[in-house]
Amino acid sequence: MTATPATSSETPPPLVELRNTSKTFGGIKVLKNVGFDVRPGEVHALLGENGAGKSTLIKILSGFHTPDEGGEIRVNGRPVSFSSPRDARKAGIATVYQELLLFPDMTVAENIFIGHAPRAGMGALDWNEMRRRARALLDDLDSHDLDVDARVGGLSVANRQRVEIAKALSQDARLLIMDEPTASLADADVRRLLDVVRRLRERGVAIIYISHRMPEIFALADRVTVLRDGSLIGTKDIEEVDDASLVSMMVGRSIDQLFPKVVVPIGAPVLELRKVSFKDEVQDISLTLRAGEILGIAGLVGSGRTELALTIFGITPATSGEILLNGRPVTIRSPQQARDLGIAYVPEDRGLQGLVKPQTIRENVSMALLDRISKGSIVDRVKESALARDAIARFGIRARGPEQRAGQLSGGNQQKVVLAKWVSTNPRVLIMDEPTRGIDVGAKSEIHALMCKLAGEGLAVIMISSELPEVLGMSDRIMVMNGGRMVRTFDRSEATPDVVGAAMTHAGASHAGGAA
């Protein structure tokens, strides 16, 4: 199972190595017998879809998680065990996370040296030394324009990222893990960051680089490792692979087996968008959604997928363009209006926008239609309980009963409660944003079967997903978004992982306005 990369005699020994590493959360194995290594002075790209196990792997390396029995971490060939992030830092492993962990009200220098500031004696901080060393570190990163006395809260994302990198280097990091460092950067900043990464490599720092952007990976990486469903698919030299082979390594399973798509007759148009925009986040989107159809929206994080859903649902109402429902123009300025027009939205983050965890299943399921099951202003408890019992039966929610608190359910069952809440409103249009994120495989396929059933009942479904197999497997049509625009649409028959994956990643490099 463990595919240990062939080590030829001239390559240096790995700086950090994971052997036969697994990780289990609550009975679910999210990382399966993975072997992985990084050499000094190399950029090692780590690829995989959401949920493939990348974050788990880097969290093991940075000491947040301990691997299951049988796994081993080696630093410079010696076995080590990290019981906390502090241990990993001491071993020279530093991580720059997507959400930067800085103190906005402190200066650049203070942030760089937080926790290990130079001392002047008697426990007092040596401010001059701290500022001098911060300056030197930033100059090393070619950031001569960044003031060490500036407040971090006022800096751009790109500059804050440099502060994070300087912070890692100030602790003599020999391995720097970068988790999607360019996800929220503008093009010019991306180029500067790539230069910084190359400089670090020249100084012998090893870098694990996680990104979905293919051009960056080919510009930077020496080797690339692909994970899928928690398993190691392979580690290759960058010369051995190209776009297509990487995408198929990432996606590469038999999609038809996993997603038992039921093809149902497609009916009349239900929802039409004509050149709908919201500020510059959603630009000139036109689409027609028909009854019984599942329209998949693919795109990278930040491509405007969720923003489009929020605009249709009235959370961020459209700033221009026209929305038609059953052929009639409608105005949607609030979620309440959207709901009353028969649009339902199962949000991306169920903890944040979907579920009221202290409330019961019954109270959650009835939340979006309280006014409809109330007589006068009194909630009809009989109807409400019946609704909740129906939902539990229909959606296969595993719970003790309608009175169980939603927060006590597993992720998959919580998602079913949110879905039940919206299906109970009898919508005509159902928008599902990342419907299966963070839930296990069994619950996933149950949710997929439910989607097919709902489409079969004539519901028009929009499904947003970061998982390409899910988009390909479930959708009748696929729309690819990038930079807030619709880049291409594919019919089910013409959509293959390679062409859709290419549309998602490639157009991203250019931000070309070539909408289809």
């Binding site: 649902f313 959370i315 609030s334 979620p335 309440q336 959207a338 709901r339 009353d340 939205y345 949000p347 944040l352 926008q353 979907g354 579920l355 009221v356 965890k357 202290p358 409330q359 109270e363 009835s366 939340m367 979006a368 309280l370 006014d371 109330s374 202003s377 009194i378 909630v379 408890r381 003790r400 009175e403 169980q404 608190r405 927060g407 006590q408 809440k421």
Partner: protein, 328 residues
């Protein structure tokens, strides 16, 4: 087979008990505390449970329970009002001043309720639409009301209140009216919270405001209404407070807001919003009143009351944290 069925039945029944306790646990605990306290202190000092003393306890403290009903709704919705003590002081002064100035008594009763609702609606607008945290808005309001009241009245006593104005001294079937108010308003509010769509949305907003918004609940409008209802209860509390004696001192009763908030929190209302009941807050208000009175009978310094209240707050918040942790 039969063994299995029995096991299932037993686990189902413990499930029911556990559920009931999870929902009303705090109320049961407080009720038990009240019973234990009355029995224990009554055994040591029988006069503690004499009708006269019971009347004193309830008449003097019912207004706190009434104010705690509105406060509970505010806290369940995820906000707080630290100005309620000052507000009650101001409203009581307005009410008494109107009563001695020759206005009809119904007007002296109604005016503070309306003024209270106006003031708290204003707080609600700042919280919901301008998005200033409620603790900040109400800290400001506390200073404005308290400062304004002392400046205008100089803390003078309002005397010569007309006898038919003193509603807190009325009795119905021999029971003082504040007790009736406390029971009726608690029951009404409890049913309102439990059975109406509006009551449900209070819990939804406090439990997860974003989810409530996405589900089509008008969060801003509902928040202002919650504050307005809170003002209604503060107004009624002010009238009960103003009419319990023959005179009104036009100042802010010390620490009143803390006592009201404590009653809500100890009554099981989560300070983080989303859970709790008004029955719990009323019971907690009764418990405090009883503790205060028992300290006198046991010849313990009344200053201990505050310490006991503080301990109860800490204990309750710890219990709340533990409960939250279980819910996830």
């Amino acid at each position: 087979m039969s063994v299995e069925t029995a096991t299932v039945r037993r686990s189902a029944s413990t499930g029911f008990a556990a559920r009931t306790f999870a929902t009303y646990g705090q109320e049961f605990i407080i009720l038990a505390c009240i019973v234990v306290l009355f029995v224990a202190v009554g055994l040591i000092a029988p006069r503690f449970i004499s009708p006269t003393n019971l009347t004193t306890i309830f008449v003097g403290n019912a207004y706190i329970a009434v104010a705690a009903i509105g406060m509970s709704m505010v806290i369940i919705s995820g906000h707080i009002d630290v100005s309620v003590g000052s507000l009650i002081g101001v409203l009581a002064t307005i009410s008494g001043t109107l009563a001695v100035s020759g206005y009809p008594v119904w007007f002296a009763w109604l005016a503070p309720v309306i003024v209270g609702m106006v003031v708290t609606s204003f707080i609600g607008v700042l919280v919901a639409y301008v998005r200033i945290p409620s603790i900040v808005v109400t800290l400001g309001m506390l200073s404005i009301l308290k400062g304004g009241l002392i400046s205008v009245t100089g803390g003078a006593w309002i005397t010569n209140l007309p006898p038919d104005y003193l509603i807190a001294q009325f009795r119905l079937f021999g029971i003082p009216s504040p007790v009736w108010f406390m029971i009726a308003l608690t029951a009404l509010a409890a049913m309102f919270m439990r059975y109406t769509a509006f009551g449900r949305s209070i819990y939804a907003i406090g439990g997860n405001g974003e989810a409530a918004r996405v589900a089509g609940i008008p969060v801003e409008r509902t928040t202002v209404t919650i504050f307005a209802i809170h003002g209604l209860f503060a107004g009624i509390a002010a009238v009960l407070f103003a009419t319990q004696l023959q005179v009104i001192q036009s100042t802010v009763p010390p620490n009143l807001e803390l006592t009201v908030i404590t009653a809500s929190v100890v009554g099981g209302v989560s300070i983080l919003g989303g859970t709790g009941t008004v029955v719990g807050s009323t019971l907690a208000a009764i418990l405090f009143a009883a503790i205060g009175s028992s300290l006198i009978f046991l010849n313990v310094s009344a200053y201990w009351l505050r310490a006991v209240q503080g301990l109860l707050i800490l204990a309750t918040v710890l219990a709340d944290m533990a409960r939250r942790h279980r819910i996830g």
